[in-house]
């Protein structure tokens, strides 16, 4: 159970050394060759690693819909609500967020129609996504454990709704490494600072090399980003001057490494500076959206003011995964001119209409673009929020939080397109068929990436931890 304990180094030594880009192997090699300067071959914590079994997906794009989109107004039509509109809920209402302001059943104000060859029904809110349904697996039976945003976001991102745990992106990079050393392995674009903030992309007890790198935050507009990655740009020196400076630094560092033999950490820091130098010359190119063709920009809706922000995020996500970033998250969140995101406690019609306009074309654009470039087959795209919304009204014309049964969808990356999986009851309140708990979603995601969620573990604080805690079942039915 705790194999590390029998090694001569303590776990913390190991962790530190491996985070520094070194492991036992490196140390042993150095001792054997009696030279402290054999670092280039050493193990990098972000180096690509083989999965447990052949992977269907190589990378993930998670399109996070903060606030909780209403499943019964988007992908999960409920004729019974039309029939019983206004009537009281015929069973005991479970815990909601805004206890006491809830009303009777409320039908969807939007019409549903079948789309594509599969005939998957989608509401008129999302016409662009609707046109892509043949590539999408709509999971109608999601279940979470938290009725409030804070716990629900944490659980969606980390598996735990109470404690700080590594984010799913961190687990994925821990399991698979990354394919571009000049970019972080896990990038989260404009993440929300609320409802847990950085806890949702932290590596927690995993080494810091696996933490998510945020690009701006939800309160910013893309054009206000000073630099995509903090400290990436030197504002005073030319590259040549900086190289001169770095050479001097490395000379000093190599001298001290020579003097203090057998310390892989010192050598690791020399490598870190070289990597940083490469990053700052090569990473900015990934963020140059303006290099994309007019047609591509239009495909995402970058030319439409109302969806420009999310179009920018989706297009950037594609550029990043194309360059080998393992896990990219885009967030539609509470931001300027968009106070509550999907969180329509009232004014469902106005708020969901607006939010749908902001994400619909960019998301569809991303799917089409990935497909056209042959990337969709091994890129897993996941769309959804921290919960769905209630079939009963709240505050007269809104809907409350519903973690008991809601919709997310997946596309590409080895998932069957054009299907729906699972079902909620006839009101859309509880998931009743093929329930997919958040733990199950995580297990399935890891499975598609070639990782067994019960084997992707990390020893910390006296026990082995995993993304799925002690739960999680792979939904094999959706695997192509």
């Amino acid at each position: 159970m705790d194999g590390n304990r029998f090694l001569p180094l303590s776990r913390r030594d190991l962790l530190r050394n491996s985070a520094a880009g070194f492991g036992m192997v490196a140390l042993a090699a150095m001792l054997a060759e009696n030279s402290p300067l054999h670092a280039e071959t050493a193990e990098n914590p972000l180096a690509p690693k083989a999965p447990h079994f052949p992977a269907r997906a190589k990378r993930v794009i998670f399109l996070f819909m903060h606030g909780g989109p209403s499943h019964i107004d988007t992908f999960d039509p409920k004729p019974r609500l039309v029939r019983d509109n206004g009537k009281p809920l015929p069973f005991k209402r479970p815990l909601t967020f805004a206890e006491g302001q809830t009303g009777g059943l409320m039908k969807s104000p939007w019409e549903f129609k079948p789309y594509g060859e599969s005939g998957t029904p989608v509401s008129e809110l999302l016409p662009h996504m609707a046109a892509c349904v043949d590539d999408i697996c709509v999971v109608r039976s999601m279940v979470g454990d938290s009725v409030a945003h804070g716990g629900a976001l944490l659980q969606l991102h980390t598996g735990s709704n109470t404690f700080t745990r590594p984010s799913m992106g961190s687990w994925v990079v821990y399991g698979l490494g990354t394919e571009n050393r000049n970019l972080p392995g896990f990038i989260t674009i404009k993440p929300s600072l609320s409802h847990g903030g950085a806890k949702n992309w932290s590596s927690s007890f995993l080494p810091a090399a696996y933490q998510g790198t945020p690009i701006g935050h939800g309160g910013m507009k893309p054009e206000d980003l000073p630099e995509p990655i903090e400290y990436l740009k030197n504002k005073g020196l030319t590259p040549e001057q900086q190289r001169y400076e770095l050479d001097m630094l490395q000379k000093m560092n190599r001298r001290s490494a020579r003097r203090w033999q057998y310390d892989p950490e010192l050598e690791g820091r020399i490598q870190a500076f070289e990597l940083a130098f490469r990053m700052q010359t090569e990473a900015p190119e990934a963020f140059e959206i303006e290099k994309e063709s007019e047609a591509t920009r239009k495909l995402y809706g970058l030319d439409r003011p109302e969806c420009r922000d999310f179009a920018w995020q989706c297009l950037l996500a594609r550029r990043l995964i194309e360059r080998g970033v393992r896990f990219v998250q885009c967030s539609h969140t509470y931001g300027p001119g968009n106070e509550v995101g999907w969180d329509a406690h009232n004014e469902l019609v106005r708020l969901h209409s607006r939010t749908s306009r902001q994400v619909d074309q960019p998301v569809a654009g991303l799917l089409r673009d990935l497909k056209a470039r042959g990337l969709l087959q091994d890129t897993l795209v996941i769309w959804g929020g921290e919960f769905g919304r209630t079939p009963i009204s709240q505050g007269g014309d809104g809907r409350d939080h519903n973690p008991y049964g809601y919709t997310m969808w997946m596309a590409g990356g080895g998932v069957k397109g054009g299907i729906t999986y699972g079902a909620t009851d006839e009101f859309g309140y509880y998931a009743v068929e093929d329930r997919m708990h958040i733990h199950d979603m995580h297990a399935t995601m890891l499975y598609l990436l070639g990782l067994d969620h019960t084997r992707l573990t990390y020893f910390y604080g006296g026990r082995n931890f995993r993304l799925t805690d002690v739960a999680g079942n792979v939904a094999h039915k959706i695997v192509a």
């Binding site: 303590s10 001792l31 700080t164 950085a198 810091a208 400290y231 001298r255």
Partner: protein, 924 residues
């Protein structure tokens, strides 16, 4: 007959066994017991009985779990065991994955047969568990004999050297004076030695020179800022709740300041931890109010909290759990919180032990108000009760004025709406002519006899935009032919709604007046639910065209002079009250005694499933089953005294181990917050006990412990490593050399600030403003920007959900759980910070300027720069001539970057090289 039925069942189950009692036993032995052993014993066997269930004996099996038996003999359908393995109920076993259909069928058949279990078997006698090392009393060990007595400066050296000699490893030589000074100064104060301190130490040749340095450093206020920060890591200190709403703890800083001061004045550790747990219950020293004691309970109060959790019982017990964890791991090195859902899997801590402790914290007041969507944080005034009451009364008076103003605005707003209401259709029609027909507002208002200001608002409101507004759909659909009729419909609906609303308000006013007259509590003021009539709500309230004006200048135009005069008077009175009143009394984020609860075990951690009642008491393994339960109060005071007792086997050991770790980089127990079975065993158990004994004997003095450790050969070794040492002990478990350590982020930032003289050494107080989230937008809940202050890093407020990115970058940790030490990563973004950040550029440019204005030649400047940044002289041996190298570098840089500031730029670059170098970032 019965047999035949079994037979059929077994055939159906595909199993070819058992048609008699004997064969039942055979089925048991061949299939059931192996199944239990393979899939269940790990949690429900002789070593561990989760939920009280032991499947390894007949007695255990038939007794069942805490909540009752798991089988009804002969009736699989009503047997919890079968439901659990079939995954049909809430409990699904085994949790790692469902058994095969064959296995489930076997179990079902066996239960149906009456669950035959071979008779002879009895439970094997339980061998008494040997006591685990950390639960045994601290013993007094004399320092062992060693061969090389000259190496032994301090008793601890004997313990270290004995082990090294045993393995034939030679300790590294003593570090040189400058290395030692830099090490000790960073170690005790988190800052580098000044040039003056370096000169003094080099000049002092006496044998007491280093002891004098240690005394000087321990007397510096900078000491508490460094060592207080170590404690704040254990206490998972931050200035907000984190988790969901991330409300600020407005008075958290008082706890931080208390900790810094406690270290500076060497508050005995036993007193210190009693105050952490129950300071509010300890007798006050001088004043009537125990300010320090109350503040100290911030240790319990300042944890992360999910205050918007809607399951309020779960929320409270999550807070309790978090406190058990920080007390368990932080003070005792025990992972007590593991026993929330099941008995601890590795340590002898039961769920009963857990809930006994939970009872203590659940009987403690944690929040001001639990009910409501977002629960309210609890603040304790640090002044006598009557003073706090006077302040509250003053706030009430201010609030009364505010309410009186609101009432006038509401009354006048209603008159205003009543006056405008009959013209609603006219306003809408006129507005349409303006936004759709291009008419001018001013002219339209004059022509129609409408209020221009109000009409302007209607235009803004009705003008179509991107938003979908269903309540205006009919309006936009109206054609010129139907417009009048549609307008009339809006008018009629509005009239009906406003009558209804005003009727409700009148009724409430009457009832409120009656209630007040008879001294009862007034009913709650009605609130209009906007979703019931969006159009009415948007027009009549907020910024709507018929809403009462919000701004004073508008009120002047709309309200009668008499009403405006009354508002002005009230406003003046309110302002005067605000000025005249007493200032807010000092407050603390603290806990106090709450209602004692009758605590039960929560089965599998679920509060809705209650198990046995438990008394308030401490873990049985540490105190024995005979301890009397605590029967009054929360039990915090008793817990505090028990933890601080010299007999407690863990408290002193855990703390001396932490002190050791913070000096040597690794603890004697390398899992400093886990002294349980899954923790590491001590590398030097006798030394650990020796230190714990000395710690207690010294009156729990932390400063005495620093002297004991630092005035040893072990502390004063060089980090040089020999090949022999690496081969024999690569992990340096036996401490043959000093562990080099990277500076913490606080040391990096503070030192960079100190370099160019911009470090602000002001102590205490808060850089954070505001309470809760105020009305702050959810995406603006940022931590204080470190670049906005020159204060030491320990004083930067920490917004738990969004710690300053530079802290995250350099392994600060997440401040959500007690920390057992900073991890140390080495990643490219850290290098980017050293190369490119504006902060480093500013500091190194400042340092360059300082160097350039001072006298002497460039070689002297370079030597000074080395001393300031690296605490050493440049090398000048053979090919390593660092002064020459630096001179060449600076000249070369000037050539590469000519211009009026070439010299300054070059020196800045050279300083940046020094601060980015390993010799700066590491302490040898």
């Amino acid at each position: 007959m019965r047999l035949a039925r079994y037979f059929l069942l077994l055939l159906w189950a595909g199993s070819a066994v058992a048609q008699s009692a004997d064969e039942g036993s055979a089925l048991f032995e061949s299939r059931i017991r192996p199944l239990f052993a393979a899939h269940c014993y790990a949690c429900h066997g002789s070593a561990m009985q989760m939920a009280g269930l032991n499947l390894s004996t007949a007695a255990g099996f038939f007794r069942g779990r805490d909540t009752g038996p798991i089988v009804v003999k002969g009736d699989p359908e009503h047997s919890a065991l079968i439901r659990a393995v079939s995954y049909t109920g809430t409990i699904k076993m085994p949790p790692g994955g469902k058994l095969s259909p064959q296995q489930i069928a076997d179990l079902t058949a066996w239960v149906k047969m009456g669950a035959p279990w071979p008779q002879a078997e009895t439970a094997p006698a339980q061998a008494p568990r040997p006591q685990f090392w950390s639960f045994q009393p601290v013993k007094d060990y004399p320092p062992p004999q060693v061969r090389d007595r000259t190496w032994v400066q301090s008793p601890i050296d004997a313990f270290i050297l004995a082990k090294l000699e045993e393995k034939g490893i030679r300790p590294s030589p003593r570090a040189d004076k400058l290395t030692l000074l830099r090490r000790a100064t960073f170690d005790l104060t988190g800052l580098p030695p000044t040039q003056r301190e370096i000169a003094d130490f080099l000049a002092d040749d006496s044998p007491q020179a280093f002891a004098r340095v240690v005394d000087r450093l321990l007397a510096s206020p900078r000491y508490g800022e460094r060592w207080g920060r170590h404690w704040l890591d254990v206490a998972r200190y931050a200035d907000s709740t984190g988790a969901d709403e991330d409300h600020r703890y407005p008075y958290a800083w008082r706890y931080r300041d208390y900790v810094i001061d406690a270290f500076n004045r060497d508050l005995p550790y036993d007193q210190f931890i009693q105050e952490q747990i129950a300071g509010d219950l300890l007798p006050a020293r001088a004043d009537e109010v125990n300010v320090e004691g109350i503040t100290a309970t911030g240790f319990l109060a300042l944890g992360p909290k999910l205050i918007a959790e809607q399951d309020k019982v779960k929320m409270l017990y999550d807070i309790v759990d978090e406190q058990i964890d920080v007390v368990g791991r932080g003070l005792m090195g025990l992972t007590l919180a593991c026993a929330r859902c099941h008995d601890h899997k590795f340590d002898p801590i039961t769920t009963k032990d857990y809930y006994s402790l939970a009872s203590i914290f659940a009987s403690t007041k944690q929040l001001a108000k639990v009910e409501g969507v977002v629960s309210e944080l609890y603040f304790v005034p640090l002044v006598p009760k009557d003073e706090a009451a006077r302040y509250q009364a003053h706030l009430d008076r201010i609030n009364a004025k505010k309410e009186a103003i609101e009432e006038i605005v509401e009354q006048e707003g209603r008159r205003n709406a009543d006056r405008l209401r009959p013209h609603l259709a006219e306003y809408m029609t006129a507005a349409r002519k303006i936004y759709a027909g291009g008419a001018k507002t001013e002219e339209m208002a004059r022509a129609q006899g409408l209020d221009e200001r109000v009409l302007g608002k209607w235009v803004e409101y009705l003008k179509p935009n991107m938003e979908v507004r269903p309540h205006l759909a009919n309006w936009y659909k109206a054609t010129p032919a139907t417009l009048a009729q549609v307008a009339q419909q809006y008018q009629a609906d509005f009239d009906a709604r406003i009558r209804d609303w005003e009727g409700r308000m009148d009724k409430w006013r009457r009832e409120a007046a009656e209630a007040r007259a008879s001294g009862k509590k007034a009913p709650e003021k009605p609130k209009f639910v906007a979703g019931d009539d969006r159009f009415f709500a948007e027009v009549r309230f907020g910024k709507g065209p018929f809403a009462p004006p919000e701004k004073d200048e508008e009120r002047q135009k709309v309200f009668p002079a008499e009403a405006n005069a009354r508002i002005a008077v009230l406003q003046q009175e309110m302002d005067a009250l605000k000025k005249s009143g007493p200032p807010e009394p000092p407050m603390a984020c603290a806990v106090t005694e709450g209602e004692p609860v009758e605590q039960h075990v929560f089965v599998r951690g679920n509060w809705a499933v209650k198990g046995d009642a438990v008394p308030k008491r401490f873990p049985v393994v540490l105190t024995g089953a005979g301890q009397p339960p605590i029967t009054h109060g929360s039990g915090r005071l008793e817990l505090a005294r028990w933890l601080a007792s010299p007999e407690h086997p863990l408290t002193a050991r855990v703390m001396v181990n932490r002190i050791w770790q913070w000096h040597f980089g690794e603890g004697l127990v390398r899992t400093p917050s886990n002294f349980g079975r899954l923790g590491e065993a001590p590398t030097h158990p006798e030394l650990l006990d020796f230190l714990a004994k000395r710690f207690i004997e010294s009156g729990w003095s932390i400063k005495a412990m620093h002297r004991l450790l630092m005035l040893s050969s072990a502390y004063q070794m060089s980090p040089e490593i020999s090949a022999e040492q690496v081969k024999a002990d690569a992990a340096n478990l036996l401490l043959s050399h000093f562990n080099r350590r990277r500076l913490d982020i606080e040391e990096i930032r503070d030192t960079l600030l100190a370099l160019d003289g911009s470090l602000d050494l002001t102590m205490h107080g808060s850089l954070q403003e505001g309470k809760g989230t105020d009305v702050e937008f959810s995406e603006a809940r940022m931590s204080f920007n470190p670049d906005k202050s020159r204060r030491r890093t320990v004083y930067l407020p920490l917004r738990r959900s969004n710690l300053p990115s530079v802290l995250n970058l350099f392994d600060f940790g997440d401040a959500t759980t007690t920390s057992e030490g900073r991890s140390r990563t080495n990643i490219a973004p850290q290098a980017l910070f050293m190369m490119n950040s504006g902060f480093v550029t500013e500091r190194t440019r400042g340092l360059a300027k300082m160097l350039l204005v001072e006298g002497g030649d460039d070689a002297a400047r370079i030597r000074r720069a080395y001393l300031i940044t690296l605490g050493r002289k440049p090398l000048a041996e053979g090919s390593d001539d660092e002064v020459r190298e630096a001179l060449e570098y600076i000249r070369g840089f000037e050539k590469k970057r000519p211009g009026p500031e070439a010299r300054l730029d070059a020196w800045e670059s050279f300083c940046r090289v020094l601060t980015a170098s390993n010799d700066f970032v590491y302490v040898n």
